[in-house]
């Protein structure tokens, strides 16, 4: 067993590596729509990478492929050096839309990820309570999702994913529906939790500021169809960071200006396409 695990987790291999991934959808009319064409991307273990791109560039689809929820039409996905065939068991996924089980309380929602793995119910529940406290919802254990605010639901979602201690964290515009202040608080919470054990993170967003403030690397995608990776920027900002304060930093501004210069053209292109459609 130990040998197998070692082979599956090659220390030098990237946590997530997409090689020339293409995604094509069959259209109802008969043709095909190529959403992503030949995208390559690698996330090292412990690295926080943000993908930024205009609306409809297929960045969420790319995340689904890394999660194993979808298979690419062409190309290969490697997880810690091993080719991904089915569901990515080493990844946790935080969705953009509400993904909590509405019929379970906050505590049950968090505990379920352990229970499915065979952890005894009592143990799972006490760990879930610890995680709820960690995301600041210790006294909300008995609430059902509809009794929680949008930000609180995201906190529960974060605890639900992190309690399983995944090696890779996939996040699809997780704070998209939240208001600006809540986003900032959630971003700091995420960085706090992440700094504890530095998982590999692939964070999809359309918000460039959020991307720079959170990540080690910002990857820019072009507008679809046939979107691909067109830019890859290191974020040389020191950690630990405070998302509110880092936005006042000069280095932040320069980076933002440079990346935005590139992104702007793609956003206009993407916007023109959705308008034309």
């Amino acid at each position: 067993m130990a040998g197998g695990a070692a082979a599956a987790r090659d220390a030098t291999a990237s946590a997530v590596a997409l090689h020339d991934v293409s995604i094509a959808f069959r259209l109802a009319g008969g043709g095909t729509y190529t959403a992503v064409a030949g995208a390559s991307l690698a996330v090292a273990d412990g690295e926080f990478v943000a993908i930024v791109g205009p609306t409809g560039c297929g960045k969420s689809t790319l995340l689904n492929i890394a999660a194993g929820l979808m298979a690419p039409s062409a190309g290969r996905v490697d997880i810690f050096g091993a080719s991904l065939g089915t569901l990515n068991r080493q990844a946790g996924y935080l969705f953009q839309a509400d993904a909590l089980f509405p019929w379970k309380t906050a505590l049950q929602n968090v505990a379920i990820g352990l229970e499915t793995a065979g952890t005894p119910s009592d143990d799972a529940r006490s760990q879930a309570q610890t995680w709820l406290t960690r995301v600041g919802l210790g006294s909300f254990a008995d609430r059902y999702p509809h009794m929680l605010s949008g930000g609180q639901r995201k906190r529960v979602g974060l605890a639900q994913v992190l309690i399983r201690d995944p090696k890779i964290l996939l996040m699809d515009e997780p704070f998209g529906p939240l208001d600006a202040q809540t986003r900032q608080i959630m971003g700091n919470l995420l960085l706090d939790l992440w700094s504890a054990d530095r998982k590999a993170v692939l964070f999809v967003t359309h918000d460039l500021e959020e991307a720079i403030a959170l990540s080690d690397r910002v990857v820019i995608m072009s507008a679809g169809p046939a979107a691909r990776v067109i830019g890859d920027w290191k974020v040389p900002l020191a950690r630990p960071r405070d998302i509110g304060e880092i936005k006042l930093d000069n280095a932040f501004h320069e980076l933002h200006r440079d990346i935005w210069h590139m992104l702007k053209a793609e956003v206009i292109k993407g916007y023109a396409q959705t308008e034309g459609a």
Partner: protein, 262 residues
């Protein structure tokens, strides 16, 4: 509106209706009694008939029979609806093949089946239970089918990412979703179970509220018919109240605004 005032106003409606009924069926207006007691009875006769039924205790047997038939129809119809609903939702091919037959069976007015059930199952409770089942089954079936099919794709993807096996998906995702749809139609399906029982009794039985009404009608005892209707109405209200209480307990997780879901 304050609760007390609401109850008072609700009571007032009944008082006015009964008073009108009493006056129009007892005193002539311009030489005519507008509601001849032969066709409309009078509140006094109806009340004394109801009191008589309860005083002598005859009514309990009939109430019990109707209740028993309704419960059996509801439970058996629901089990069938849940099983078939799940089966269809998880096996789209089976569902597609059998779809026209399900639609056909559902379109059939169930009353026409009553004589056949009586022929097959006799005059006892089972012919009424069978009629009730045919009504309850389709409501539960359609709701469970919808509930399993309309699980949010995000919730489903999340469940998969959280490591759920097919069996765990069934238990933690499909089943609660289906149940929530089923419970939201609880009032309708319980109501139809009672309808099945009463209609079945009415068409041929030896006991039950429907039988009571049918017997009274057979001898032009309009007071008896009305008394039976009032007892039946009270019976349905009691059951509906119980169902509401159960529903409230089972669907605590559901936001109140979604209560109107069909």
């Amino acid at each position: 509106m304050p609760r007390m005032r609401l109850i008072l106003l609700q009571g007032l409606v009944a008082v006015i209706a009964i008073a009108l009924w009493y006056v129009l069926s007892t005193y002539p207006v311009f030489g005519h009694v507008l509601l001849p007691p032969f066709f409309f009875s009078t509140p006094v006769d109806v009340a004394s008939q109801i009191i008589d039924w309860f005083a002598t205790g005859v009514i309990w047997k009939h109430l019990w029979v109707t209740l028993e038939e309704s419960i059996l129809a509801f439970v058996l119809g629901s089990i069938g609806g849940v099983v078939v609903g799940f089966w269809f939702a998880r096996q789209p091919r089976t569902a597609a093949v059998l779809d026209p037959y399900v639609k056909m069976a559902n379109a059939l007015p169930r009353v026409v089946l009553a004589p056949i059930f009586t022929l097959w199952l006799g005059l006892g409770i089972w012919s009424k239970v069978a009629l009730g089942i045919t009504l309850v089954f389709f409501i539960v079936f359609f709701n469970v089918y919808q509930g399993v099919k309309e699980v949010s794709p995000t919730v489903l993807a999340n469940a998969r990412m959280l490591g759920m096996s097919e069996r765990q998906l069934m238990r933690h995702v499909y089943w609660p979703s289906a149940l929530s749809w089923m419970f939201s139609s609880l009032h309708t399906s319980v109501g139809f179970a009672v309808v099945g029982a009463v209609v079945g009794e009415y068409l041929g039985a030896a006991a039950g509220l429907g039988y009571l009404i049918q017997q009274a009608e057979g001898v032009f005892d309009v007071a008896g018919v009305f008394a039976g209707m009032f007892v039946l109405a009270a019976f349905v209200i009691v059951i509906d109240t119980i169902v509401s209480a159960i529903e409230k307990r089972l669907l605590v997780w559901r936001p109140a605004t979604n209560d109107a879901r069909p």
